[in-house]
């Protein structure tokens, strides 16, 4: 299933993984990697570090547009359902009001808009992030377990045009990495 797998570099080598001691060091290292012209790389942190997306040169998320579309879809289907039921499927005269008494339909329209927006936000976030991806080559690194605790990492993937095993590791060391290691692609993934 393509959905459950991240897009990974071809070949044996996934890339280089560097650990930094503090958010501040990671921040400056990210600026360094960005300025060196890398594009297929990432930072891994136990919590979102504010401003890091700028240090990495990332664009703002386009998720709000997805949410706008799904929220409007939810609201339109809410009003549509109520209008259709009240005028076509089951028209009833309630307290002498017109069949399409839209002001009374606003609350449910609003609620369904919120529901659509919420699902759009969660599913859209997962889709942008290519999650769920239960397996990833980085999980093979024992050190990487700390990325969800107190470790701050940069991973540079081997299909980056700038990537060169030695020069990239050198750059990461110069940027203040505590440890730099190479991470192999998963053998099973590599064969496909």
């Amino acid at each position: 299933m393509a959905l459950l797998r991240a897009s990974l570099p071809p070949g044996e080598l996934f890339g280089a993984l560097a650990e930094f001691a503090t958010p501040a060091e990671l921040y400056h290292a990210c600026e360094g990697v960005r300025d060196a012209g890398y594009t297929r790389w990432d930072a891994h942190t136990p919590f979102p570090i504010h401003g890091l997306e700028r240090a990495m040169g990332l664009r703002a998320s386009r998720l709000p547009w997805v949410v706008l579309v799904t929220a409007v879809l939810g609201a339109v289907s809410g009003m549509g359902l109520q209008g259709w039921v009240s005028t076509i499927a089951y028209p009833l005269v309630i307290s002498g009001k017109p069949f399409f008494s839209w002001p009374a339909f606003i609350p449910i329209t609003f609620e369904l808009g919120v529901l659509g927006g919420a699902f759009g936000a969660v599913l859209g976030m997962l889709a942008f992030n290519q999650l769920p991806t239960l397996h990833h080559p980085l999980f093979a690194s024992a050190r990487f377990e700390r990325a969800s605790d107190d470790g701050f990492f940069i991973s540079v993937e081997s299909w980056d045009p700038q990537f060169d095993r030695d020069r990239t590791m050198d750059l990461l060391r110069r940027l203040g990495a505590k440890e730099v290691e190479l991470v192999a692609s998963d053998p099973a993934e590599g064969k496909e």
Binding site: V67, N129, L131, H136
Partner: protein, 500 residues
Amino acid sequence: MSGTQSESNPIAGRPGQTVEPSTGLALSESDPVDHRAPLILGAQTFHAITEAVARPMERPATRGWWICFLISLSMLGLLGVSIAWLFWEGIGVWGLNNPVGWAFDITNFVFWVGIGHAGTLISAILFLFRQKWRTSINRSAEAMTLFAVACALIFPGIHIGRPWVAYWMFPVPNQMGMWPQFRSPLMWDVFAVSIYGTVSLLFWYVGLIPDVATMRDRSAGLRQKTFGVLALGWRGSMRHWKHYETAYLVLAGLATPLVLSVHSIVSMDFATAQLPGWHTTIFPPYFVAGAIFSGFAMVMTLMVIMRKAFGLEQIITMKHLDYMAKIMLLTGSMVGYAYALEFFIAWFSGSAYELFTFKNRAFGTYAWAYWTMVSCNVILPQLFWLKKVRSSLAALFVLSIFVNIGMWFERFVIIVTSLHRDFLPSSWFYFVPTFFDVSTLIGSFGLFFTLFCLFVRFLPIVATAEVKTVLPQAIAHSQEAPAIEHDASGAVGLAREGAA
């Protein structure tokens, strides 16, 4: 409560003066951004926070937990028996022979929906207002919301007399070709509460993803696999955090108007009826304020126990409890204002029926319920003006219980006193709950506490990733922020030299 004295120091002391008593280490001074005293006490490292939150999940269950769990479970059993008997025998077991007979059931429904609202206030509204202190309590408050909504949803489900046709509440084609009547607030309520539950679940789960990833990376075997699936393969990627934080912000933005709409719609169930005592435009804001008030009382009750039981005193500090007490003071006073205004409007409207209803409320046969409500919701919370009360765990706990009781009585008073003197004297009745009324209420507490016990045992009870962001050393990018240095002991100090 031996820790109370030392914990209250950071509130009394000015920023920069607090000293962690056990180690004597000087705390990280004030927050480099807003210059306030730190929210999290002790010389905390990121790892120490992971440990503090993960420890209760990783050690065997304590005896205290088993006692709480078994008591809750037997109360839940009582709920099962009560519902089974209700389904077998019919709603006559609740004494539903006249309009006021359904009072208890709907009181419980409104009570539980209201409890949930504080969780969403903490997770969504305080997030939009950038109230960082919410990070210590939002996870458990959101869990409380979910469980309270689950309890609430039971009541409309079981009170309809023929539970096997409960699906008629939903807009699905049925064998009679019949559709719901969308102009009724009762129908709006079906959508509002079920969507509120769904969105709260989504919000809660999104918040959990990074923390279950933390648990996955700390565990082995079946636990690792379970957490691994729940974490969806989260690897802390900054490219993921970017979308994640956007999603979280959007969800907070959606949940904020949603939570306000939910209790407004619940209040319209009453307000659109013509019954004196219900037919009033003050209901939506009054219900929302009451909901937040009651919810904070429940959060307070749970937090006072939880921080003690799981040793989280440095993460859920006296400062957090102090803030919650202030919100209760505010919302309690808003509720008190609404009570007073209802009387004014009853007089001002010139309607004899309205005036009778309110006189009857305060001085009639249910005066005992009315004055219980006023004492618990308006008079007692005024004690929160006193700093001494706000910094005493015992006082906070006792007052929060009183507010829980008072807010249950508020719904009882609104529903019962208005209905028991209906327009038709043939409907007049002094409502007394039956055994199964009471057992269902106790049983719903059983469901709530059983779910909460399971939550504190098996999931991270504090949003670890979010708490880490409020530590001073988490701020990396600001030019004004001092650089962070790790000294040999591993404690974190702030070097006053500006960012490199």
